[in-house]
Each structure stands twice: as structure tokens, then as C-alpha cells.
């Protein structure tokens, strides 16, 4: 039924376009001097039918369920919900809905079956009502649009205004969704801090997010000091950057200045492929190849290391970041004007000297911006660390030890049974909030640096 409504709308839109276009054409043929071209008259008519009806259908679909429920509840025998808490009454509504959907468990009471039948009926009425409303509004809009085709009507400006509105809407969707996410995070985080004091979270050095299920359980109180978790993230990110920054920069410098055209042409796409490898693949590369290799090597020189070291996770994450940094640095180096290269070379600088003394300093803001973006990717990276890093939060900066990361903790906290009234689950939101703030600050810095750099060279 809903599909039918959409088809109807689509048909009306096409009709509006062709009717108005033809009307404008015939007016032109009759010698009238129209302000806008006929295709703009068509476009304006199509948009002025499509947009309002489409928005209307969406609103209808969002509200339909709630309104129908309301009607259905009104018809229930008086006093059904007396003395029931919200959970129990929700249960009754859910049961009625599942009966309406054809999933009957046991033998429900007669009034429930009757309510379910009414629910089905209401939905059918609502659907027909939707189609009828679409047909009527589309017809009215078609008529209004057809009337708008007159000599002086500025259809081009009208159509442009509608398209502009659509563009603004699309541009703000992402922003509003982000704001929504931040709000959701904020509320859960506040709930968490009502149970666990913020000072303990920020400065505590012990992270054991378990909650006793029974009063007398031995596991006792959990501890929610986030420092070891963040320390783990920092250690892993540091290892990653230690790998990625030098290798990435050297790659960029080589490709940008020293590589023959042929090499550049073949290596750049390969690097881009590397950037496209799913992180989960990097993850099992870390677990199955790098970690055992590190362990074996350490054993051969007589050192005992954990099976899931920060070194393995960080190292593989570093490899993931290489193409990221190298492409940023390559762009920054390429953006340095050709005249500066020529100037340095003409003074008798070698390519190396030119790179080191002229190109690199001139490109450094862009490079730093790229590195900072890589940092925020490293601390937000999840899959590799979930697979390759440990679960136990340790206060250590030894990369050969097993550490955990913020993202790992969030994943483990939200897997399995979640209860939104205990600090174990809520702590995931606090961690997420901290992570969000950290990456936000780094990104702001990075973008500022990149922008400053653009101002100088454009």
C-alpha cells in the first residue's frame, strides 16, 4: 500500500513535469515571451508536487504506528492497565501486536484477540487513507502548478530555491545526526557519573568493570579508573605512529621527488589498495602472523612476552596508517609551488638538500595535519585492537606487555547482556565520550593547521 502511494507520487511528479513543460512550450509557440525556459516550468511543477507530498508521506509513516496504537488502546476494556507498571502494560501491547502479526502463543484472552483484529483494521484504513490523501494533495498541487504557468512567472528562480532548500537539508543531515549522537552519549555518560564519581573515572588507576550479580558475590565492587585503559590506547597508538610516520614520510618523499615516473605510477595505486584493506583483515594479520612472530623472536633471545602485545597491535595499525600519512604528505609536498623547487635546484642544491631544506619545511604544516588525523584514527581504531590487543587493563607503558584499548573495552562492555542501569554498561558511554572528545580536539587542531597552510600557498 505504501509502495502504491509512492508510485502514485512518482507518477504525479512526472505528469507535473510534462504537463507544465508542454504548457510552457505551447505558450511560446503562441508567441508569448516567457520569463523562464519550459524545462524550468516543468522542473518547478515536478518539485512542488514531489517535495511536499514526499515529506507528508514520511511524517505519516512515522506517526501512523503511534496514532493507530492510541486508537486501539482506547477500545480496550476500561481498567485493563489499572495497577500495572509501565513494563507490564508494554508487555500487553506487544502481545496484541504479535497476535495482529499472526504470531499467536497459547490461547490469548478474547479481548486481546478482538483488540488485535481492530489493530489490523485500523492499519488497513490508515493505508487507504494515505493513498487517498496522496492522490488528493498531488491533484491539488498539480492544479496549482499548472496554474502557475504564465508569462511573468519566474519558474527558474522557484525551482532553484527548492533545489537550494534540498541541498541545505542534505548538508545539515549529517550535522544533526552527529549532534544527536553526542546527546545520546552525554545522557548515558551523565547517568554513569551519577553512579561512579567523575574523579574516580578520570584519575583512578584500576579498571575492573565487573558488577556483582548477587549481594554476597566474591567479585565484589568493580573499579572504574580509566587511566590504564587510556594508557593502553596511548601505548598502542604511539607504537603505530612510530611505525607509520617515518615509513609514510619516507614513502611520500621518495614517490614525490625521487621515484621515476614508472615507479610512481605503479606504487601509488598499490598504496591506495593498502588503504582499502578492511581493518579486520589487518586484525588477523596481527593475531596470526605478527604476534606469533614477535613471540618467537623474543623467545629466541630469551625474553618472555605476552601473546597479545601492544607491539603487534600497534605495529599492524602502523602499517594500516602508512598509506594515510604518505598520501597526505605527498599532497602537501606536491602543493609546494614548482618555483620553489626550481629556485633551490638553480642554486645548486641537490634533490636531497632541496627536499630537506625547502620542500619539507614548506610542507610541514600539511604533513603535521595529516599526522594528527592519523593519530585520531589510531586512537579510534577498533577492529585491529579488538583482535590483537589484550583485555586486561594494565598500568604499563611497556609495548611488549599486553594492554587493552578504549575501543576494546567499549566493545566488550556492550557485547552480551546490557543493562542500562548499571555502571558496567554505562561506563562504555563514558569511555566513548572521552574518546570522542579526544579525537575531536585532535581533529580541530589538525584542520586548523591544514587550513593555515592553505592560506599561505593558494
Amino acid at each position: 500500500m505504501v509502495l502504491f502511494a509512492f508510485l502514485l507520487l512518482f507518477g504525479a511528479t512526472m505528469l507535473a513535469y510534462f504537463v507544465n513543460r508542454r504548457a510552457a512550450l505551447s505558450m511560446r509557440a503562441g508567441g508569448a515571451r516567457l520569463h523562464s525556459l519550459e524545462s524550468f516550468h516543468g522542473l518547478f511543477a515536478a518539485l512542488s508536487v514531489l517535495v511536499p507530498v514526499f515529506v507528508g508521506i514520511l511524517f505519516w509513516l512515522v506517526l501512523e504506528g503511534a496514532v493507530v496504537d492510541l486508537f486501539m488502546l482506547r477500545g480496550l476494556p476500561a481498567g485493563t492497565f489499572d495497577g500495572l507498571d509501565s513494563g507490564a502494560s508494554q508487555l500487553i501491547v506487544a502481545e496484541i501486536k504479535s497476535i495482529a502479526g499472526g504470531r499467536v502463543f497459547g490461547t490469548p484472552e478474547a479481548w486481546k484477540i478482538e483488540a488485535a483484529e481492530r489493530l489490523v483494521r485500523y492499519h488497513r484504513i490508515a493505508d487507504w487513507l494515505l493513498v487517498a490523501l496522496v492522490a488528493i494533495t498531488a491533484a491539488i498541487l498539480l492544479w496549482v502548478a499548472r496554474r502557475s504557468v504564465v508569462e511573468q512567472f519566474r519558474a527558474r528562480q522557484g525551482a532553484e530555491r527548492i533545489v537550494l532548500g534540498l541541498m541545505i537539508f542534505c548538508a545539515t543531515v549529517a550535522i544533526f545526526v552527529t549532534i544527536g549522537i553526542v546527546f545520546a552519549l552525554t545522557f548515558e555518560t551523565i547517568k554513569f557519573f551519577q553512579i561512579v564519581p567523575i574523579t574516580e573515572f578520570l584519575f583512578g588507576t584500576s579498571w575492573e568493570p565487573q558488577i556483582p550479580i548477587r549481594e554476597d558475590q566474591v567479585a565484589a565492587e568493580g573499579a572504574f579508573g580509566a587511566i590504564p585503559v587510556f594508557l593502553g590506547t596511548i601505548v598502542i597508538s604511539a607504537v603505530a605512529l612510530f611505525v607509520a610516520v617515518p615509513v609514510g614520510l619516507m614513502t611520500a618523499i621518495y614517490l614525490n621527488e625521487f621515484a621515476p615516473q614508472r615507479v610512481r605510477k605503479s606504487v601509488k595505486p598499490v598504496l591506495e589498495i593498502l588503504a582499502g584493506v578492511p581493518t579486520v583483515v589487518y586484525g588477523f594479520f596481527a593475531v596470526l602472523t605478527v604476534a606469533p612472530a614477535i613471540r618467537q623472536f623474543a623467545a629466541s633471545i630469551g625474553v618472555d612476552v605476552a601473546p597479545n602485545t601492544a607491539l603487534a597491535a600497534g605495529g599492524v595499525m602502523g602499517i594500516m596508517l602508512i598509506p594515510f600519512i604518505s598520501s597526505f604528505a605527498d599532497d602537501a609536498l606536491s602543493a609546494v609551488p614548482r618555483s620553489l623547487r626550481d629556485g633551490a635546484l638553480a642554486l645548486g642544491a641537490t634533490r636531497g638538500e632541496m627536499m630537506l631544506n625547502v620542500l619539507f619545511p614548506a610542507a610541514i604544516p600539511g604533513i603535521v595535519g595529516g599526522v594528527l588525523l592519523a593519530v585520531s584514527r589510531a586512537i579510534g581504531e577498533t577492529m585491529i585492537v579488538v583482535m590483537a590487543a589484550g583485555l586486561i587493563a594494565k598500568m604499563t607503558i611497556n609495548p611488549l606487555d599486553s594492554v587493552t584499548a578504549v575501543t576494546v573495552q567499549i566493545v566488550t562492555l556492550l557485547i552480551g547482556d546490557t543493562a542500562f542501569d548499571n555502571p558496567k554498561t554505562l561506563s562504555a558511554f563514558a569511555l566513548g565520550m572521552m574518546l570522542f572528545l579526544a579525537t575531536l580536539i585532535i581533529n580541530i587542531f589538525a584542520l586548523r593547521i591544514v587550513r593555515k597552510y592553505r592560506e599561505i600557498y593558494d
Binding site: Q261, R341, G343, G348, A349, T350, N357, I456
Partner: protein, 265 residues
């Protein structure tokens, strides 16, 4: 007809500094320079004139092997400075470029301080043993670039903050700081206003005392004002090469005459 100041166009008896024989340049399949023969004298300003795309800049860039930095560019023939073949395998283009300075069309100071801009060449060639010597070299170069008085109080401020004309003179100072023997200028005034142009032209005439100056220019008036020798390029050919006064008053080739009288170009 042309604004020719007295004295500047007189040709002194001088030695040949650069000899080019049968020079061909190819960009990929394009034959950009066809069989150019020329002898450039020291202590002389030699101007290359000609319409856009005639190869004058390309030929200029052969003299300090800047064309080496372009992958698809191929140079054939024989170019000698003081009798030494600069395309010989044993010649290091890096050392050659220290000997043959170059100034570009657009002022291109490095994003460093004025001092560091000028000190860059001497530093990478190890010309100064200590700070005092380097200071000396920088001051001398800036004086030769006729910009010392304007920047002596702000040597540490960025070179990019100067005006266009000052930047270009800074670039000239930067080029002469490595004590070159030849100075190549690729349309050095095309991005400058008339006043800055006049200052740079003045400077070019002074530089003639110490260097062989080769200047590419689009402006025939400029060629007439600053040079003693003029070479006219057309479609990759060196059409005519002679004393500037001769080229501008009594050219032998009809194409030269057409160009300087404004009929082609």
C-alpha cells in the same frame, strides 16, 4: 624609436663565455629547439627575444641543465662554458648550477628569513667557514642585489613579506651569493611594476661588471635598454644573433624585422 640610454649598448672587447653548437631540445616528440649555435660573451648582457613558445626559455634552461629536472626533456648538441662541455658525464649538474645562477619569472623566495634565503646557496656549497664569513657573504650579495639598504634592519623577517620588486632583487641577491660566473634571467621583470622593473634593469647593468648575464624577455624595449647582444628566436630556431643596436636598427633577417616592428609575434 626605442628608449636606448647612452653607453649601455656599447660592446666592449670581451671573451666568449658560453659556446653552443648544434643544440637540439626535444620534449617527448616535440622538437623544441632546432640546431641553435650561439656564442655568449662574458661581461655582457645577452638578451633572448622572440614570440611565446619560440624556445628562448628552454634554451636558457639548457645552460644550467635545469631541463634535467623535466623527465621528458632531451638535450642534444654541445654547450661549453669556458671550453668545458657541461653535458659531459663527469659534470655534476649541482656544481654547474652553483656556477650558473638563475633568476626566475616569478619571484620565488623560500619561506624563510631574508638572511636564510641569501645564505642558503653559500651554506649548501660550504662557502663560509663561520658565521662571520657567512654574514659577510650575505651582506655582499644583498648589496650586489641593490636591496641591502632596504632590508639591513630586518634580515630575520620572512622573505615572502617583501614587495614583488624587492622579492625579485632578493632572488637576484640569492643567485649571486654563490659567486656564479653566469647569471641566467628568465623574464625577471614580467611580474613587476614599471618602477620595480626600472630598478631591476639598473641592477642588471651593474651585474654585467662581474658576470655574463643572459636575459630572456618578452619586452623588446627591455632588450634594447639592457642588452649589448640580442638573439632572436622563432619557432625553435635562432634566427639572428648580433649586437643589440644592429638587431634593432638594421636586422638582416626579414623575420627579425617583422618581429621588432610588431608584424609577427
Amino acid at each position: 624609436m626605442y628608449d636606448v640610454p647612452h653607453g649601455r649598448n656599447e660592446v666592449a672587447v670581451t671573451d666568449v663565455k658560453i659556446t653552443a653548437r648544434n643544440v637540439q631540445v626535444y620534449y617527448g616528440d616535440t622538437h623544441a629547439i632546432k640546431d641553435v649555435n650561439v656564442e655568449i660573451e662574458s661581461n655582457t648582457v645577452t638578451a633572448f627575444i622572440g614570440p611565446s613558445g619560440c624556445g628562448k626559455s628552454t634554451f636558457l634552461r639548457c645552460i644550467n641543465r635545469m631541463n634535467d629536472t623535466i623527465d621528458i626533456c632531451r638535450v642534444e648538441g654541445d654547450i661549453r662554458i669556458d671550453g668545458d662541455d657541461i653535458y659531459d658525464k663527469r659534470v655534476d649538474p649541482v656544481q654547474l648550477r652553483a656556477k650558473v645562477g638563475m633568476v626566475f619569472q616569478k619571484p620565488n623566495p623560500f619561506p624563510k628569513s631574508i638572511y636564510d634565503n641569501v645564505a642558503y646557496g653559500p651554506k649548501i656549497h660550504g662557502m663560509a667557514r663561520n658565521k662571520a664569513e657567512l654574514d659577510d657573504i650575505v651582506e655582499r650579495a644583498l648589496r650586489r642585489g641593490a636591496i641591502w639598504d632596504e632590508v639591513k634592519d630586518r634580515l630575520q623577517s620572512p622573505g615572502t613579506g617583501l614587495s614583488g620588486g624587492q622579492q625579485q632583487r632578493l632572488c637576484i641577491a640569492r643567485a649571486v651569493a654563490t659567486e656564479p660566473e653566469v647569471l641566467l634571467m628568465d623574464e625577471p621583470c614580467s611580474a613587476l611594476d614599471p618602477i620595480a622593473t626600472a630598478q631591476v634593469e639598473e641592477l642588471i647593468d651593474e651585474l654585467r661588471q662581474n658576470y655574463a648575464v643572459v636575459i630572456v624577455t618578452h619586452s623588446m624595449q627591455q632588450a634594447a635598454r639592457v642588452s649589448q647582444k640580442t638573439a632572436f628566436f622563432h619557432l625553435g630556431n635562432l634566427v639572428e644573433y648580433d649586437d643589440t643596436t644592429k638587431i634593432f636598427t638594421n636586422p638582416e633577417d626579414s623575420r627579425t624585422e617583422s618581429y621588432i616592428t610588431g608584424r609577427i609575434g
